[in-house]
Amino acid sequence: MSDAMPQKPETLAELIGRALANRSFVIGLAITLLIAAMALVSFFWTPYDVTRLIVADRMQPPSWKHWFGTDHFGRDVLSMIMIGARNSIAVAFVAVGIGMGVGVPLGCWAAARGGWIDEMLMRFNDLVFAFPALLSAVMITAVFGPSAINAIIAIGIFNVPVFARVARAGALSIWPREYILAARAAGKGPSRITLEHVLPNIANLLLVQGTIQFALGILAEAGLSYVGLGTQPPMASWGRMLFDAQTLMMVAPWLALFPGCAILLAVLGLNLLGDGIADIFDPRTRRRA
C-alpha cells in the first residue's frame, strides 16, 4: 500500500474487472451470496414451519419431501439450516459491528494522538488479548445467562482490540504521508483528517479484517451454541443443531452432516472473500497483474 495510493486512481470498471479475475474473490463471493440469500429467503419462506414440532414425523432420512431429512422433533432440517444462516449472520454481523464501532475509533484516536493515549490503548488491548476468548465467552454467558444476545456481546468484546490494532497500525502508516502533511498545513484538525484521509485509506484493511472476524464470529457462535451457551430454542442455530445431532450420529447421520457442512461452507466462503479482497487491494499483486 506504500506507494500506489494517491497517484492514478483506477476507474470502478477497472477495479471490478480485476476483482472478477480473482478466483478467491469470485468463489468466496458466490458462496457468501448463496448463504446470505438463504438467510434472506428464510424471512419470507421456508419449506416448513420450524416452530411447529411434529414429533410423529421425527428423524426421517433425506427425501424429496424433506431434502435434508427431519430432526428429533420432526422439524425440517433444510428449513432450520436456512433460519440458522440468518441467525449465524445476525450474530456475526452485530459482533463485527461492535468490534468495528468501538475498535476503529479507538485505534484511529490512538494513532492520531500518540503518547500516553496510545500507550493506554495498547495496554488495554494486551489485557483483553490475555483473556482466552472462548473461556471468557463461557464466563460471560454464565454470568448473564445463555442467549444469542449475550453470545454476541461476548464475541463482540473480543473483536474490539482486533479492530483497534488493525486501525491503529493502518492509520500510523498513513499519518506520515505527504497529503496528510498538506492537510495539516491547510489547518485541518486531527479528527477531520482521520475522517477525510485516514479512514478511506484504511477501509480496505478493515474490510479484510471484517470478513475474517465475520468468519470467526460464525465459528464462535457455533461453538458456543454447541455447548449450549449460545442461541436458544426455538431459534434454529447451526451449532445447536450439531449439539442435538451428536447423540444421533449412528441413527440419523444427516442431522450432523448438514449443519456441519453449512458452517464449513459459510466460513470458507468468507475466508476466500477476505483473501480475495486483500489480493485485489494489495499493491504488489496489482503491479504483478
Binding site: A130, G223, M249
Partner: protein
C-alpha cells in the same frame, strides 16, 4: 534489552492485577449459591447459612478478594467450595491432561504445517500449491468439534483403534494415556495446522522475494538449500508468533474438545466449576491461564531475538 524486559514484566504484572479484579467482580454477580446447590431442595435456610459460614462465603467482598489475591502470590489458590480440596491440587490433576494435550496438538500442527508451507511456497502458483492451499482453506473453516465428532465415529466406534473418550491417567502406563489423547490432539491440531501452513507459506514467499535470497539463488545455491537454510529461518518470526498464540489458545481453548472427549482437563474443570458455582476454582484457573498467555507472549518476543540476530541489538 534489560530495560525492555523490565518494562514488559511490569506491564505483565499490572495486567494480572487488573485481570484479577475483573474476574473476581464479574463472578460475584453470577446468580446461584454453591451452598444451596450442595444441600438441595430439602435443606432449611439456616442450614444453608451454616454451610456458607463454613465455606467462608459470608465474609465481606473485599476481605475475600484480598485473601484470594494474597494466596495467588504464594501459589495458594484457596480451597474448592465443592470438592473441599486445595484448588492447586485440582489444577495439578487437570494440567497433566491439558498440558500434554496442548503440546501434542502444537507438535502435530507444526509437523504438518511447516512441510506443507515449504512445499506450497516452493511450488508457488503451481497446481500442487493451489491444491494444498485449498485444503488449508477447508481446514481453517472446519469447526474443530465437528471434526472431532467425525474422528470419534471413524477411529473409535468403527475401527475401534482408540478409546472414544475419557482419560485413564498416566498411572496406568504411558501408552494408554497417549492413546486417549491422540484423537483430541488431532482434532485440535488440524485447524491450527491449516492456519499455520498458510502463515508459513506467506512468510516464505515474502522472504523469497528479498534480495539476499535472489543473490543466493544467482550464486547457484540449490532451491532446497535456499529454502531450508535461508528462507525458513528468516520466515520464523511470523510463524513463531502464531505458534505462541496457538499454544495459549490450545491450553485454554480446549473446552469444547474436552467436552466431546470428556477429558478431565482444565477446560472441563472450569465448565464444571461454573455450573457448580465453585467460583474460587473458576477465578484461580482463569488467572492461571491469563498468566500463561502473558508469559508465552513474552517468550515469543524473546525468541524473536534468538531467531533474528538483527533484533538483538535493536532494543
Amino acid at each position: 534489552m534489560t530495560a525492555y524486559l523490565l518494562k514488559r514484566l511490569l506491564i505483565g504484572a499490572a495486567t494480572l492485577v487488573v485481570a484479577s479484579l475483573v474476574v473476581f467482580l464479574m463472578l460475584e454477580v453470577v446468580p446461584g449459591d454453591p451452598a444451596r446447590l450442595m444441600l438441595g431442595m430439602s435443606a432449611s435456610d439456616a442450614q444453608v447459612e451454616l454451610l456458607r459460614d463454613q465455606m467462608g462465603l459470608n465474609q465481606p467482598l473485599i476481605v475475600r478478594y484480598l485473601d484470594w489475591a494474597r494466596g495467588l502470590l504464594s501459589l495458594d489458590f484457596g480451597k474448592s467450595y465443592t470438592y473441599s480440596v486445595p484448588v492447586i491440587d485440582l489444577i495439578r490433576e487437570r494440567l497433566v491432561v491439558s498440558l500434554p494435550l496442548a503440546l501434542i496438538a502444537l507438535a502435530l500442527s507444526t509437523l504438518i504445517a511447516i512441510p506443507v508451507g515449504l512445499f506450497a511456497a516452493a511450488r508457488r502458483g503451481k497446481a500442487a500449491d493451489t491444491a494444498a492451499m485449498a485444503v488449508a482453506q477447508v481446514g481453517v473453516a472446519m469447526p474443530n468439534f465437528w471434526f472431532a465428532l467425525l474422528l470419534v465415529y471413524v477411529f473409535a466406534v468403527w475401527l475401534r483403534l482408540v478409546p472414544a473418550g475419557g482419560f485413564p491417567g498416566w498411572g496406568n502406563g504411558v501408552w494408554p494415556a497417549l492413546k486417549a489423547l491422540i484423537l483430541p490432539a488431532f482434532a485440535l491440531a488440524l485447524p491450527q495446522a491449516a492456519i499455520l501452513s498458510r502463515v508459513t507459506r506467506a512468510a516464505l514467499i515474502e522472504v523469497l522475494g528479498e534480495d539476499y535470497i535472489r543473490t543466493a539463488r544467482a550464486k547457484g545455491m540449490p532451491q532446497r538449500a535456499v529454502l531450508w537454510r535461508h528462507a525458513l529461518r528468516n520466515a520464523m518470526i511470523p510463524v513463531l508468533t502464531i505458534m505462541g498464540l496457538q499454544f495459549a489458545f490450545l491450553l485454554a481453548g480446549t473446552i469444547i474438545i474436552e467436552n466431546v472427549f470428556y477429558l478431565p482437563g482444565l477446560g472441563r474443570l472450569i465448565f464444571q466449576a461454573i455450573t457448580q458455582r465453585d467460583l474460587i476454582v473458576v477465578e484461580s484457573v482463569v488467572m492461571l491461564l491469563v498468566a500463561t498467555v502473558i508469559v508465552v507472549n513474552l517468550l515469543v518476543d524473546l525468541s524473536y531475538a534468538l531467531v533474528d540476530p538483527r533484533l538483538r541489538t535493536r532494543q
